[in-house]
């Protein structure tokens, strides 16, 4: 018994030392799924860009349930992958358990802050990007009512909604903003049927521009908006191409840049890292699919707002700073 244990131990030590030299980066997707055409896909695209430019390779895993988070982290860490990039706020608990056990492994978490010497926390100023698309929504709206569909009801998504509502009211102080959340469990990220039902209800209340910040659920929102002939706003990745001429714009959250930088850096900076409008972390999408929808006036107003946010003249209230929103009641 003891002998077999020793053998097994020796074998695993050998296996560890054999793989540790590889040090490929690894990427873990959240429950929305790798090809959600949104957050996770954006992360994937960043990793693919890195792999194509450097000729390197990376390991990846798509989670099926919450319980797998810690397991996936430990598996990659044991296999010697570094840095291990995880896309999603929900990894915070698992990572704060795992990170101290692997001091030589570099971890990168997106959308959440984990305080450990070997963790790089990347957060985005979503409220700033949402503010910009909120301005565009208000300018494009004819009814004076616009709406928002969030995924899971968490502070991060409320931050989107709050920034959006502030942008809307900056253009039209009398505008009504309807905000709905899909659910309170992780399945809310992947429920397109409910997304489209919520959108139909909002259109019934007069909304003619809808902003979806809901992962895979957002696909149903954009679909319902296109079916009913109103405008929609995509999120995270550029989703303008999904329904050409019917998606006003997309709130870009450059998760791909965050992943790319983490994988490409020789000497990765640990600690807190904010990506806002100033350093290209968030913004709005303009391409051939929405060129006819975005007027010159709209573009000028939004670019001016972006410039003053960068310069610090315009402060967009961050919901997560005090859990309140001046422009919207949840």
């Amino acid at each position: 018994m003891t002998f077999t244990k020793t053998l097994a131990g020796a074998a695993s030590v050998l296996a560890l030392s054999a793989t540790a030299t590889l040090a490929d980066p690894a990427l873990i997707f959240d429950l929305g799924g790798k090809f959600d055409k949104s957050f996770n896909e954006s992360a994937y695209n960043g990793a693919v860009r890195w792999a194509e430019e450097t000729g390197g390779s990376f390991d990846e895993v798509e989670l099926q349930s919450d319980a797998q988070r810690e397991q996936a982290l430990r598996r990659f860490a044991d296999a010697g992958n570094s840095p291990i990039v995880m896309a999603g706020f929900a990894f915070a608990n698992a990572l704060s358990e795992v990170a101290p056990d692997y001091p030589d492994t570099e971890f990168v978490i997106i959308d959440m802050v984990v305080d450990a010497p070997n963790v790089r926390s990347v957060v985005f100023n979503e409220h700033e990007g949402s503010y910009l698309v909120g301005m565009m929504a208000a300018m494009a709206s004819e009814t004076g009512t616009v709406s928002f569909v969030g995924g899971m009801d968490i502070p991060l998504i409320r931050r989107f909604a709050c920034g959006y509502a502030q942008g809307v009211q900056a253009v039209n102080a009398d505008a009504t903003v309807i905000a709905n959340m899909t659910g309170t469990t992780p399945s809310a990220w992947n429920d397109p049927v409910k997304g489209s039902e919520l959108t139909l209800a909002q259109i019934g209340q007069g909304s003619d521009v809808v902003f979806a910040a809901a992962g895979g659920t957002g696909l149903g929102v954009l679909q319902a908006a296109a079916d009913e002939g109103i405008l929609s706003i995509g999120v995270d990745a550029n989703q303008n191409y999904l329904h050409p001429g019917q998606v006003l714009t997309s709130m870009l959250k450059r998760v791909d840049n965050a992943v790319y930088e983490a994988m490409a850096a020789d000497d990765l900076q640990m600690g807190f890292n904010v990506m806002g409008i100033g350093n290209g972390g968030v913004g709005y999408a303009l391409d051939e699919f929405n060129a006819d929808l975005v007027t010159a006036e709209m573009q000028a107003a939004v670019d001016a707002a972006a410039a003053s946010i960068t310069a610090g003249e315009l402060a967009v209230h961050d919901y997560m700073s005090d859990e309140t929103c001046p422009a919207l009641e949840f």
Partner: protein, 399 residues
């Protein structure tokens, strides 16, 4: 008369068009349940328990979306979906009728098979992470627009109440909604007015008697299973090509199991199945539509206390388990009612004044409503549900 009815409805939900939209959403959510429920009805009436409804719907949803995308025709997709569902049905039949296996185990196996295979095949086929590409144009189930009806919600909002009702509720559904509703009288007619229906019901109650009469039990049960497959196939195709534009992982979201609950609720009868499915559809429509309900505290308290009183009154006459379940839920309701009241007292508002303060119902309460009501309905108000007597037992011919 008409205006007083619309006034009443307006008083309850705030605006007549909201009410029409709620009804519309109810039908939309109920149709997949209804089709699956009727599928289960045929199968269980013939004595074959089928918990594989979920898996069959899922497989049909996937294959109809995939074939619809590749061929560009939703009708070929629909046929493919029905084919997939029938194939799984036949597996269930071979396992549980021919080889007399356990029907529950075979059903569970079908659910697992469908949940896994759809995602794996979709990934291998389209490489989009277990979903099919988005369907457009002729790849989706067309909507039937009756003459003169508005097609866009924005146009309907300004129309007259009658026009709103006609445009949103009567018109504008996909073909499968009307097909699904027609299936109810059709099922009733087949089951209760044809020789085949009589034999089908008999085979679920007393297969030995049917066998003695010289009719093949195996053939009848296979016929029931095939009907079950067709209906599940339509339900699945409805989800992926009509409600949604494409297949996503686990998109049936336990509708197959909810359909089974509705079937018990309906006590294995077609018209009651329609009622049960519409009720469940309404719960889900309420959940989707009314995330922010604002009511005066008085009405919240009245509603909660009245519901508890009704439940306790009902439970008193029944068995102990009913008293326990319904009593527990009543206690929770009353606690909520009291806490709502207490939370409104203060800031210069007295105990009586607090009753007229407006409260916002928490989203979580609205979201749990379908499930609470399901428990109440199934545990309490269904009465005694007696399944077909020979259900779940393989028939062994006497030698």
């Amino acid at each position: 008369m008409v205006s007083s009815i619309t006034d009443l409805i307006t008083g309850i939900v705030g605006n007549f068009f909201t009410f029409v939209q709620l009804m519309d959403a109810t039908v939309r959510m109920a149709i997949p349940l209804l089709l699956a429920c009727l599928a289960g009805l045929f199968s269980e009436r013939a004595g074959i328990f089928d918990i594989g409804l979920e898996g069959k719907m899922l497989a049909a949803a996937f294959l109809s979306a995939a074939i619809s995308f590749t061929t560009g025709s939703v009708w070929i997709g629909l046929l493919a979906g029905i084919g997939a569902s029938m194939l799984l049905s036949l597996i269930h039949g071979v396992a549980s009728i021919t080889f007399r296996g356990n029907q529950l185990i075979s059903g569970v196996a079908i659910n697992f098979l469908a949940a896994g295979l759809t995602v794996v095949i979709a990934q291998g086929w389209f490489g989009q992470g277990g979903r099919t590409p988005s369907l457009t144009g002729a790849q989706r189930m067309p909507e039937v627009d009756l003459p003169g009806a508005f097609t866009r919600i924005r146009e309907m909002r300004d129309a007259s109440p009658g026009m709103q009702f006609y445009s949103e509720f009567i018109s504008g559904h996909t073909v499968l909604v009307y097909v699904g509703l027609l299936c109810v009288p059709l099922s009733w007619w087949v089951l209760y007015r044809t020789r085949f229906g009589l034999r089908l019901r008999a085979v679920g109650e007393n297969p030995a008697a049917v066998d003695t009469a010289g009719i093949s039990v195996v053939r009848l049960r296979f016929a029931a299973i095939v009907i079950c497959g067709v209906l599940c196939g339509i339900a699945g195709a409805y989800l992926s090509t009509a409600v949604q534009a494409g297949f996503t992982k686990d998109m049936t979201a336990n509708r197959g199991f909810i359909a089974l609950a509705a079937l018990i609720f309906a006590k294995w009868r077609p018209w009651h199945a329609l009622g049960a499915c519409l009720l469940f559809g309404l719960f889900f429509a309420i959940d989707n539509r009314f995330q922010n309900i604002q009511l005066s505290a008085f009405w919240v308290i009245v509603f909660l206390v009245a519901a508890s009183a009704l439940m306790m009154n009902y439970a008193r006459k029944n068995e102990r388990i009913d008293v326990l379940v319904l009593g527990g839920i009543s206690a929770i309701f009353v606690t909520i009612a009291v806490s709502v009241w207490i939370s409104q007292i203060g800031d210069g508002v007295g105990a009586i004044g607090a009753l007229w303060e407006t409260v916002k119902l928490p989203t979580q309460l609205i979201q749990s409503l379908p499930y609470i009501l399901t428990v109440v309905a199934v545990a309490g108000f269904v009465g005694k549900a007696i399944p077909p007597r020979a259900g779940g037992e393989p028939y062994v011919k006497e030698r």
